[in-house]
Symmetry: D2
Subunit: 247 residues, 4 copies
């Protein structure tokens, strides 16, 4: 009975070096999302699947199902929020002002299209009206469809989703007052879409007049790390304290 003939080496020797042999323990093959945090620094997370990639009028959006972080929303190439820990950001944004207010009923969200800020606000049973005003309809629709954790919030009758520029919307609602106004926006980059929503003028002329007696304004303010606080946090803080009595 014959076998495979090797003129040069015994079969085991030859074949064990074959590139087609089963992967050695620890052999890797995988799909990765790779984000450049800065030019010389990346992070990479393994992917289960690419749920969606696309462009809206305002930004590029993608939703990935990642192995380490669950579903992850990426806007303009930057990880915005991940299933496994988005609650940290959203709880910290929402609950301090709502718990500090004695009886929050009406809340206005500038931005917040993902729906998670609304979800946290709606947990407060005193709240009977939430206006969420985001400029990008496609992101809102996209999150409504994919982020099942926010489905209940999107369907809550107390929530009113408005597609508009938050500044224009607040200016339009001259007769309304809100107990809490929440800024859940991108960082203020000169020339960027949200820059005008972080100015002293906007806070004084638009935000403050819409707050009811004892009303509270809260805004995300970018990273506050030992180096990164200088990026936008310090600016926003310094602007805020010129307009509001800070807690």
């Amino acid at each position: 009975m014959g076998e495979i003939s090797c003129s040069t080496e015994p079969i085991n020797g030859v074949l064990s070096r074959s590139s087609s042999s089963p992967p050695p323990s620890g052999y890797r093959k995988s799909c990765w999302y790779e984000e450049e945090i800065e030019e010389n620094l990346r992070w990479c997370f393994a992917l289960n699947s690419i749920l969606h990639t696309g462009s809206t009028q305002y930004q590029e959006i993608a939703l990935f199902d990642t192995k380490p972080f669950g579903k992850a929303l990426v806007i303009d190439g930057k990880l915005q929020s991940a299933e496994v820990d988005e609650f940290v950001y959203h709880e910290c944004l929402v609950h301090p002002p709502l718990l500090n207010h004695p009886n929050p009923k009406a809340v206005f969200i500038m931005g917040g299209g993902e729906g998670s800020t609304a979800r946290e606000i709606l947990k407060h049973t005193t709240v009977d009206k939430v206006v969420m005003c985001d400029i990008d309809e496609e992101v809102v629709e996209f999150c409504k469809e994919y982020l099942v954790v926010n489905t209940e919030a999107f369907n809550d009758p107390r929530l009113d989703v408005i597609i508009n520029d938050a500044r224009a919307e607040l200016e339009k609602r001259k007769e309304e007052k809100f107990d809490v106004i929440v800024g859940d926006l991108a960082d203020p980059i000169e020339g960027g879409p949200c820059y005008k929503l972080y100015t002293k003028y906007f806070y004084e002329s638009t935000v403050k007049p819409r707050l009811s007696q004892g009303g509270i304004f809260v805004t995300q303010a970018g990273p506050a790390g030992i180096f990164s606080h200088a990026e936008v946090y310090t600016c926003i803080y310094n602007t805020l304290r010129q307009v509001f009595k800070c807690k």
Copy 2:
């Protein structure tokens, strides 16, 4: 009219360093498939989407839509075939034997579940019967569904798709003869699924008796590079020339 207040630096200076600023030209963010060719060598290709990942009874399969190579079939973590150039392999496997045979009518494919080998064979108008015998039904179904380039071939009435071990199938068909038998199999790895389909004994006792007068046997034989030919090519060549009169 107020602006964002920065106590430390002028706004431009601060904000232009922001990690949230729009990506500089050339900024990368992307999804990648990464394959370890060997422990210290990888290649990575950018992904449009992950069309499918799963396991069959015999192997792990995935289909990716890659940016550089189009749809790519990955089996057990190794790129098998890509839309953009699979024709090179399949044309080279099929057309030399079929053009060398004066009148090929009946062809047997050992393996070939992807469907591309059948597609090339069916281009020969003399051919009136192709038996494609692959052991992995799920791969065949999967390729039938996703590889639209082979849809027509899968639907060709001359093609008979059999799910079986190719050796068992050839042994069973004692009365049949084929003008061309094509080996479109994984490499012969000791203990691997295809090892027995590359032995001298198999060629002598099973393949050769199924060839009609003037019949031709052809098999893929692994990489034939300056170093890689020693992996399996040399073995297969040396085995073949003990059994067949080589052209």
Copy 3:
């Protein structure tokens, strides 16, 4: 006058597609250090150079000159400390206990081979004796040679570098007392080299007796993030408060 002849396409068309053309803006080519934080999560930082890679009796060590973080010390494949921000860890470890002690003179460092903990301690002018006891002589020598930021500390006559197991060393010094004892050790992993330096028994029978009246013990206690605090921080905290009166 002749030119390069192209039978198929005009030169510009052909050559502009050449793989040898100058890189487009944003083209990347670089050397990277890649660390798997966990199986499905990596970070990668660009390298200027690989200053050293090697193994000691106890661990693998490497020193890289990285683009984003300056010189970075990697032990057993994990980034330990980087030039650009190691001060954050070392200042936080050292200055609270030394500032809380009314007159710290004698300090004992368990571990600390990198030299940065000693550097911070030696900034306190009351200190007249620092015993730094690390088990791995090669790491100490290596850091002395490469980490120029600690050169002055290593040469300070108040510093006594001992190569020994910190527990053995403390037990040996039965007659000595220290005003501050600092644990600058790897995390307590069962079976790992430092596990016994985090036990209640060790704290009670060895550390506490070596503290002078009003003496302070401080130890690094691993990451304290929203998820990661459960890894070792909680354990260490719970152990410490059974032995010491915590501030």
Copy 4:
């Protein structure tokens, strides 16, 4: 006797999840050189060390000690040549013309700064003069220093290394004839440094007149793959056959 106290989970459970635990089998951490072959395709090879990175007047050069390929020379971000297989290119470039010439004595190398082409030529004992003319002195010096495999060639008294533009040098040597002229240059990219060394005019007016009776001209001509041959190979071939009688 005490132990580490965990209020929440048994120690094993907690600690086995620790990010500080010894790497599982197959855990990767490494230094990599990553080259973008095109925008959506990369290859990466593991590094032992970065031997040199720098810029000359003409190009960026780097020498890496790679795990899969040994020492690798990278020019302008593209892998040029690697220790493990550079002989394939250089043997194929040199030996066919030198073996086809009945008595090669004088050889001129256009480019070839790496030294490997000279090394192969000098193996021919009939050769008594090799002029190697490269424009980039720093590359030549760099290769002389680092590529020990070419040390003997660089020291061979038959080799004359000239730093000059190969065209200018050939034009200057009006009275000299060479038995073989070898083009070991970068690909002809419009506007690139070597473009004029691939034109019909150059071949006719400069190269051909410098060849002795029965002299042979050979040039590298870029990749000749199933797709890549269209990049520069076809152009060079079509140019050459208008000037030379091709073998």
